[in-house]
Symmetry: D2
Subunit: 389 residues, 4 copies
């Protein structure tokens, strides 16, 4: 890289949790500077945010349209390199499309769009423009998730037979959307969130994680969604039976009414020769259970000797030596870092390495939208199985 | 109790794991003596077992029929008080029926019978004779499982909304039934095990645990069973969506091909006000997650102050003070101890306490058989839901 | 074994925790029957205990003297085979000595005697009579402790460099001996407990565990004992620097005022090539940390392939397959079982196997007393190091 | 804050682990920009590092002297605001002193200096100049460490009675300093590291953590240091008995030859009413063990209701909601953030809040040097106790 990349931001005003996460992730490696933004639909919040973020007043815009238009007219060595979109789901597609069409790369929150149609259109634009889009499926950024993926790919478990992925949260155990919780409000509003609540918000993370690590695709599913908290308008809980394209079976559980749980995403993959387990609350451990062997715990940052050596994908995404816990912000930072390294390589006329390219992209966004569609369809059906394309 | 109870045994020769477990459970509290048995269909093994178990040669019988007949002719203060049945599933019903009809109480392994019809008939006999039958759903014998049940019953979680129960094992990851593993052989043989493999063997434990702790009944289910290991004749894996009779949803997973897992039965129950989690590998901890509170870990044997005081059902089933781990044999021993205390109370003309009566009985055996029937029916159906009576 | 062994008991009335633990341990394998006892200095408690324990009234004795005298006059095939002594420390020596001199084997609680002189005398009697004495250092009975010992002996860690053994309890955080806690009362009374409180009661367990697993001997120590709770008469807490006879260093911590701890005995042994860790609260896991390798967790009851195969000493002391937790009562039971197998082998004119002989014996009792002496001496000295013989 | 602060750096070239940690910590909140540096004594490494770090070539200096001189001549709105010193221990004092005397604030690695004399002189300069010095005792930056401190301060444990702090690492189990490990080389070289190895490098962290959380001071100690690996010149292991200024006792263990351990810093504090435990490998959990209560696990980022509400010091140092693990880089970042907020407040003529001021400062650096002096003195003495001033 010859210079820092310049980031613009839609959404993420100082009152929004996720904007701050994106900024920390973008900042931590010193590869990105925030140069412009439209941080809120409330102009005062946007202005205040810009000040707190040390963004020049003349690069705070009233909305994403103005931002993209004006930035694209700035000199090439001044204007933003990429746009980060951290608005609610229903305002993902339009700024992403417009940014790409004006030549800007994009980082976008999941689920990628409001509908599958939008997702497919976005994919076409990305392919047409040759630009780069990163989708922040955060959990795929953890080093031990990458190690798990590498071990499956290296056939250390044999053929995969069963996958259990769970994402229990408890934060919507009450009707928090009526108690002034802004994040709860839009996530439970079908007009802003889309056709699913919990499945769209966190089920998509779980599905992505299962497919990412296993290298398999969900081919059929049978879903049971619930609106558990009375008065809510979208599913806050769901259980899904899965079948994968190699014949493996699985279960996906996503809940926001699992009272007392924080963010307990967990993945287990079982193959012919052994199983692996990873827990987001304890992200630097990967539990490897091979038949006829003691349980092994692989840990981030270690320089194990062969044949235990950590994958290059794990080590590329690790910043500090073993025993120094890395957390969610670093996992998030890995997505940004790989996105930035990829964009920079392209700008510099170089070919990104496989490790750089290892971040969720537009195809995974399309797949996530299809997953939501099929889950909702299955939930409404009295047939057992629904095929996933 | 005025005297030890006298136990007879069908099956459980010295080559069988489960017979030994029953004996340790029966012996540990000094309330039971083994007086007779038919330990194996192989007369030499039966004779050798008797010798190793210090059973008098004249009370070793060639089969359960001879045993029940001859024992019933012995003087009242000599003959066995109860018969323990630890044969494969297809030889549960006949000895149980005959024992009850000759006035002997019964301890029986799960699943209780080969078919639901047999189970219902057994229930009728138990009700008619007024005798006592204990079904060894081992895991309900753990003190912290009883604490969990008490906390749900005391409304500490509020209305139950979601239950996740899992029972992953990996010991059938290979075709072990062809490699001389006797336990694997009969369990995977439809003629000996019944219409289901994993679901009958361990799925029934999981279903029992979920119902026992929650006090709810499974009312509908949607099952996906698999024969994962090629060449096997019964399911070795299954995933089931559940609906309970109060509207709660749930998931039950039972697998014997979860490579690398030992016996990782886990239960999570989520209510309006919080959730609980219990893991069989770590049985002396009960994780209690109340909304807006730090996670609490209740542990066996503690004399907590109110309102944390452990339930009388937990303390009644605890032998030693906090910090001294109790394990599966003690949980198993609790079922025996409560069975023996109940039988003795009845013999002595006393009324057993609720704590004594807290062991799995014939009704739970009927319910387990119905669960297996419905799971198998659902698996074969293209409809989503099957009702459970 | 041709018959069950017959046990007599001094102490262990129905109001005493530890008597019950001994009986469960003795009973669980069906190798022992309780035939006589003097369960309490209170004749009514002794009589009631005998009744509850199904001991014949004519074999309940007013004290250990009467018991030993009368039992030794009974026919050989009736009288007790061994005497279990579960009285407070100051009544260990006399009954043990008298029992041995009348030809009875002995099981005795730790610390073995009140003074080192008594311990040495007992050792001489054991050696002279050829009888067997088992000292219940419970924690050495756990299978994973035996696995740890085997791994050190097999040089899997290389030369041992450092040992950390801790035994924190919190149950004496208050002046419980004044609040009617009988166990607390005698343990904190110098006339009944001996010259040390916490160090005698639990520090001896810790020291034994460190030496048992490492195969090393403590050669020097530097102790800092405290009476933390005002009004107490014996140490309730102590920290000790250790040096072992191979040059390794170490730390031993024993506390009964570590508020909130239950019985958290933990051992870590570090060698040139790796370390191991074992925790009594989690006794079926042995954490093995080899240089340049992922952490391995060895677990009780597994049939690992070579070179991971569990030691014969671990498997000999395991009753049930992997995934079925064994606890403190089984560890205790292992001491009894090995003692009984050893005594029976001798009675039958056979040679006990090394696995049978693997239980704490009189020499370890002498060593425990010397440890207490040296710790107390060091605590009173302003010199840094005190040598241990 | 009205603007980002400008950071200069001595040491921390691209080949050095710790420089990178400081930069990530400084960058993550978007409050700091790196403007100048002398990154290595090797000019080419320094130049290359500057390029990779996007530092302008005209602000890369040949050494700290040149940097401080030239920077101090730059306009006020251009020159660095503070200097980060990440060189080996023997080059801490001189640049720190010179920076302060030229008006620059300082961030410095621990141990603060090479000798206690230097430390005291630095303290005098800081006091005289009124400038701010941050000492990176990383572990005090974790939110749950701050929660622990708050709970002790709020008397939730009662009077503190016992403290156990351990810092086992295994990375110096071999003579790595002879195998090309640069970090090992200087740390084991008395000329570069100081009079102690393990105790200076990590024992100081442990001592700081114990004093920081408990609010107590170590008043006496008895140390046993070892050079375990043959051929090494400084202690690689040490065990220390402690006495605190309120009468509490304690143990401190620091080892770099605890083979198989990563960075397993652990603190336990026991008071009259309960104990707390914190483990650096698992930093978002704080285990709270109150007498007569179930174990409680406080976790980072939760909005618990009273009386469980997390301290303002914990929440001020948390970036993301519960269930999103924060790690070492965030803890490190908290030290930077508080330092920067304090410096900015002073620059803006405001008074820093207590939360802002909660980072290790020069007094703690002096105390750390005294600790090392006393430990080394005690190790060489045959007297049991050495007083700490």
């Amino acid at each position: 890289m010859k210079r820092k990349l310049r980031m613009g931001m839609v959404g993420g005003g100082k009152d929004a949790f996720i904007g701050s996460v994106h900024r920390i992730a973008a900042y931590m490696d010193g590869l990105v500077e925030l140069v412009c933004g439209s941080f809120s639909i409330d102009p005062q919040i946007s202005k205040d945010s810009a000040e707190a973020l040390f963004v020049a007043p003349d690069r705070v815009y009233k909305d994403y349209k103005e931002m993209i238009e004006k930035e694209s007219q700035l000199p090439e060595d001044v204007r933003m390199d990429f746009l980060t979109i951290v608005t609610p789901n229903f305002i993902h597609f339009a700024p992403a499309k417009m940014a790409l069409e004006h030549g800007f790369n994009v980082v976008i929150e999941k689920p990628m769009t409001f509908s599958t149609e939008e997702a497919i259109e976005l994919q076409e634009i990305v392919e047409r423009t040759g630009l780069t889009l990163a989708l922040t499926h955060t959990y795929s950024g953890y080093p031990m998730v990458k190690q798990a993926k590498a071990m499956v790919a290296n056939d250390e478990l044999g053929k995969v037979r069963k996958i259990i992925v769970e994402y229990p949260q408890g934060w919507l155990s009450r009707l928090s959307e009526r108690e002034g919780n802004a994040g709860a409000a839009w996530r439970t509003d079908p007009k802003k969130s889309g056709k699913s609540g919990a499945m769209g918000d966190i089920g998509t993370h779980a599905a992505h994680l299962a497919e990412y690590v296993s290298g398999l695709k969900i081919s059929e599913l049978c879903a049971d969604l619930s609106i558990v908290v009375e008065g809510r308008h979208l599913d806050d809980d769901g259980n899904v039976l899965l079948r994968f394209n190699n014949g493996a079976n699985g279960v996906l559980i996503a809940s926001q009414i699992a009272a007392g749980e924080e963010n307990a995403l967990t993945l287990r993959v079982y193959g012919e020769k052994g199983g692996i387990e990873w827990k987001q609350h304890d992200p630097n451990n990967l539990y490897v259970k091979l038949l006829d062997r003691p349980l092994q715990v692989y840990r981030t940052g270690n320089a194990y000797e062969a044949p235990y050596t950590l994958s290059s994908f794990a080590t590329h995404n690790t910043r500090i030596p073993a025993g120094h816990p890395e957390g969610l912000l670093e996992a998030f930072g890995n997505i940004y870092r790989n996105f930035v390294l990829t964009v920079s390589a392209k700008l510099d006329g170089e070919t990104p390495t496989p490790e750089m390219l290892d971040f969720p992209q537009v195809g995974e966004g399309v797949r996530g939208m299809a997953f939501v569609d099929r889950v909702v369809e299955s939930n409404q059906s009295s047939d057992k199985w629904v095929k996933v394309d």
